[in-house]
């Protein structure tokens, strides 16, 4: 088959976009446990395995911990592996997330952002994935169904290069259950972009090695240093993977995406689907002559600190919208951005907004209020709760 630049157009939900991404990446082992709102991702993949569309081993397990454990085994044996989960499922995986990263296994996972209980909730916020900030997984927050599919494929490219696992994140329902038209790339082209995984070290009974053995204090730190180095390398690799993807498929997303931010006095920082709403608000305010811009953070781990510094260098004020809360401190993206800017020579004033927890809509009105609040204050504030009935 001759590769073509255009694939098939299809109207799919964000969840099914993930499934198609995994299918095109030719994953070999899938292990998952169902949880709302992730279920349809693995439902479609299990169908693909059953009807032969995807030649992969689908392992049914009794928990997310086991799902990740199964993938640790499969990836150690050299397989390209995939899973998907959400909220409590991700929390249950926690121990194995450390293992996957420490063992340097390029596992790719989709996490559908869902608020943690109690109180019980199935709607979106980012506390589930951000609670796993320090486990050594790359995290990429997606804005559209197309980006979701493309990110699955890019994630394997980067993960298998730097040997760190990757998690792509999509908002519950806003993306997971909402259908939009996307392009399903041509398989031959994806194969060209993403050749089969060639592990350097793998479980092999004919060449028995010790894996995951005890490391004494004089070796442990070096291995941790190498993980951090790999994360730093991943910044370059994400940029490279994104460019190569653009050359073949005509789409790229960047690690961050500044929007009308060059000459902006005030820059709004967002992640996930809020970005699309914010883009409209920015256009509207720009049309009214206001010097406002937008910065979308796509790759959260590794954190593109230098890129963020550059993007925000000329702004007077920065308003960060966090759909998450670190209790006792504030929004997590705001903390990361403050941390990235602290050693910069010129620092904007940073306003941290927490909004949209548990799936509460962040509407254009909410975003306008956030911008107006920021414009009207001269002193920065660490934590502003948006819309809390008090």
């Amino acid at each position: 088959m001759t590769p073509t630049l255009t694939g098939t157009k299809k109207v799919v939900t964000g969840n099914h976009a993930v499934s198609y991404g995994a299918m095109l990446a030719r994953v070999q082992v899938i292990s998952a446990y169902p949880i709302t709102p992730q279920t349809q991702i693995v439902e479609l993949l299990s169908e693909m395995c059953a009807n032969g569309t995807l030649r992969a081993k689908f392992i049914k397990v009794e928990s997310e911990h086991s799902a990740m454990a199964a993938l640790v085994g499969a990836a150690s044996a050299g397989a390209r592996t995939f899973t998907a989960t959400s909220a409590h499922g991700l929390a249950l995986m926690h121990e194995m997330l450390h293992w996957a990263a420490g063992a340097r296994l390029p596992i790719v996972m989709a996490n559908v952002n869902r608020a943690m209980g109690p109180p019980w909730s199935v709607w979106t916020d980012q506390n589930d994935s951000l609670s796993q900030r320090d486990v050594g997984w790359m995290q990429v927050y997606c804005e559209s169904n197309q980006e979701v599919l493309d990110t699955v494929i890019q994630a394997y490219k980067v993960a298998e290069t730097v040997l760190m696992p990757a998690m792509l994140v999509l908002d519950a329902f806003v993306l997971s259950h909402t259908a939009e038209q996307i392009e399903i790339p041509d398989q031959a082209l994806v194969d060209r972009y993403l050749p089969p995984y060639q592990p350097v070290y793998k479980l092999d009974v004919s060449d028995p090695r010790s894996f995951g053995a005890l490391a004494p204090p004089d070796l442990y730190m070096e291995l941790r240093y190498k993980m951090h180095k790999a994360m730093e390398d991943a910044l370059t690799e994400w940029a490279r993977a994104d460019e190569e993807y653009y050359e073949l498929f005509g789409r790229r997303y960047g690690l961050i995406e500044p929007y009308r931010a060059d000459d902006a006095d005030l820059i709004l920082v967002t992640s996930g689907t809020v970005t699309s709403t914010a883009r409209d608000v920015i256009d509207e305010l720009r049309a009214a002559g206001r010097r406002v811009g937008l910065l979308k953070i796509r790759v959260f781990r590794p954190f593109p600190a230098q890129l963020v510094r550059e993007a925000l260098a000329n702004a007077q004020k920065v308003a960060v919208i966090d759909r998450n809360i670190s209790f006792g401190m504030g929004g997590i993206f705001a903390q990361e951005i403050k941390s990235a800017l602290y050693n910069a020579p010129d620092r904007p004033l940073i306003f941290g907004f927490v909004a949209g927890l548990g799936g509460r809509d962040i509407t254009p009105t909410v975003i306008r209020e956030i911008i107006e609040y920021t414009e009207s204050r001269d002193e920065p504030e660490d934590l502003i709760w948006v819309g809390v009935k008090r």
């Binding site: 028995p208 090695r209 010790s210 894996f211 070796l219 291995l223 240093y225 790999a230």
Partner: protein
């Protein structure tokens, strides 16, 4: 162990904690304190089978469509698969582990299918040294036939003495042909004869030839004369009642019996059920009179159900107290019973209710209240208790080379139990002739643990039956054979408890890759087996045992 690699900088280190050299030198088996071993267990079906048929292996062969191999494996342990597949009360199925999962395997139906499918096959009789010792077997029922077969296989000269005109004992005389077609019985007896067994029919020991004479002319004698003596009712007018067993023998021998329309059958055992179903086929209306309730009936439940299905009526909690003849009809005076305290058999004792007498009118009364052995021809030699030879007397006889078994020893039991007894006696005779002690039976641990997670629910095959309307018109066999496809599918439901069927689970699950697959069996490399026990846990059929290492 190779020289350790010393890292001086992170550049020299691999990305993760992986050894750069082969770890084969690290014999992790030294950590083990539990050793997994492949040790086959005794499947509960096989354990329950009186003749010890190797049911899991037989079913495995059937599931592969290897019917001839299955038949030959049956014949290793039993000369009568065609008979047993029809008349055995199949304790194997009662103990089948699958009954706790969905439904027990239909083992009897498969046995019958295999026997039918291989009806024309012959045993492969090897050249074997002829032995000079001669053995006389008195009686050609299931005990005598089994004993004769296993002795003849070993080259002994066996003569079977049978009082009737054809061999088979109760199989021929007592069991009606709608349960056991005579062609099946004839064929299996014929195959026993092929091994060199001589059948001398119309020769009743104690009448046509004396036991003493047999004993003089043979090196050993096996008395397997069964239990043919019907118990008495001990009521006035008993002379008007026919004996159920005699009735069956007459019908089975092709004689015409005038029953009349209404037939009362006294008793609740298998003979009573056979009488009722036979009477039905002769156009009569049978009524079974039993002094306890259905629950206490000694007949096999399936037989009771069949009898009822076909139209037998039951009169429970009633016992005859007198029979009178009136104008060519019979008048049976009965008394109503109630259940009292349990008796020695554990069943509740029937107690008469005073002044509850009632009359039942009938044309014929058949008494079927049990049989006992008739050992008059040897009574001067031994002591009996209620017709059963007592152990001391038996020991004395055995030292003289006279063995007793089957129903003649135990009182009425089942075909399979009689065969077991015949087999055991064959072994005893061999030991006796060689002047050895009988070998100790080696018993394996029973396989009781099945990992149900590896199985999916599948229904048990239904045995096709003739419609009742057709059944009662003739003595045609009521049960039909299952098809080859049904047999294969049914056999594939077998868990193969305790018997390795190369399912690969141990090989797949061993986390140390210490199990190798070699020509369909498995070997454990104990240099690397850490004794984690996963293989034993994941073996669906408890073939793998964990034994403590000796320290």
């Amino acid at each position: 162990m190779k020289k350790p690699i010393v890292f001086t900088s992170e550049h020299e280190m691999p990305p993760m904690a992986v050894s750069l050299a082969d770890m084969g030198h690290n014999r992790t088996g030294s950590w083990r304190y539990l050793r997994p071993v492949y040790s086959e267990k005794l499947a509960p079906c096989k354990n329950a089978c009186p003749v010890g048929n190797d049911i899991p292996r037989i079913l495995s062969l059937v599931s592969q469509g290897r019917y001839e191999d299955a038949w030959r494996l049956f014949r290793e342990t039993s000369p009568l698969p065609g008979v047993c597949g029809r008349v055995c009360y199949h304790p194997c199925e009662s103990f089948c582990n699958r009954k706790d999962f969905d439904e027990a395997l239909s083992i009897a139906a498969i046995e019958r299918f295999v026997a039918d499918a291989c009806f024309d096959l012959e045993d492969r009789i090897p050249e074997r040294p002829k032995r000079s010792e001669k053995i006389a077997i008195v009686g050609s029922g299931p005990a005598g036939l089994a004993c004769a077969y296993f002795l003849a296989k070993d080259g002994y000269a066996v003569t079977v003495f049978e009082g009737a005109s054809q061999p088979g004992g109760m199989l021929r005389l007592g069991i009606p042909p709608y349960r056991l077609p005579r062609a099946v019985l004839d064929r299996e007896i014929e195959l026993i004869a092929r091994w060199g067994v001589e059948f001398r029919t119309n020769t009743r020991v104690g009448q046509d030839i004396s036991l003493e004479k047999l004993w003089e002319q043979h090196n050993a004698v096996f008395i397997a004369t069964g239990a043919h003596q019907s118990r008495a009712l001990n009521i006035p007018g008993e002379e008007f009642a026919l004996t159920g067993l005699e009735f069956l023998k007459a019908v089975n021998a092709g004689k015409t019996i005038a029953l009349g329309k209404r037939v009362l059958i006294i008793g609740g055992g298998n003979t009573a059920m056979d009488c009722a179903r036979t009477a039905l086929r002769l156009g009569a209306h049978p009524i079974v009179v039993y002094r306890r309730t259905r629950e206490e009936m000694p007949a096999i439940a399936e037989e009771i159900e069949e009898a009822e299905h076909e139209g037998t009526q039951f009169e429970f909690l009633a016992a005859p107290v007198a029979i009178r003849k009136l104008n060519g009809k019979l008048e049976v005076q009965c008394i109503r019973m109630k259940l009292g305290e349990p008796d020695a058999s554990g069943r509740r004792r029937p107690v008469p209710i005073p002044s509850s007498d009632f009359i039942m009118y009938t044309d014929t009364v058949l008494k079927a209240v049990g049989e006992e052995p008739d050992l008059a021809f040897l009574s001067e030699h031994l002591e009996t208790s209620e017709g059963i030879v007592i152990e001391r007397a038996q020991g004395m006889l055995e030292r003289a080379g006279i063995f007793i078994g089957g129903d003649a020893q135990t009182g009425p039991s089942t075909v399979a139990q009689a065969m077991r007894s015949g087999k055991e006696v064959a072994q005893k005779i061999k030991s006796f002739l060689r002047g050895e002690r009988p070998p100790k039976a080696t018993t394996l641990e029973e396989a009781v643990r099945v990992n149900f997670n590896y199985f999916t629910h599948r229904p048990r095959v239904a045995t096709p039956q003739l419609a009742v309307s057709e059944r009662i018109l003739s003595f045609a066999e009521t049960k039909r054979a299952i098809s080859a496809e049904q047999a294969r599918v049914e056999a594939s439901r077998c868990f193969s408890c305790g018997v390795c069927n190369s399912c690969d689970n141990c090989w797949v699950f061993c986390p140390d890759a210490a199990i190798a697959r070699i020509n369909g069996h498995y070997e454990i490399n104990y240099d690397f087996c850490k004794g984690c026990g996963v293989c034993a846990e994941e073996c669906p059929r408890s073939v793998i045992s964990l034994v403590e290492e000796e320290l």
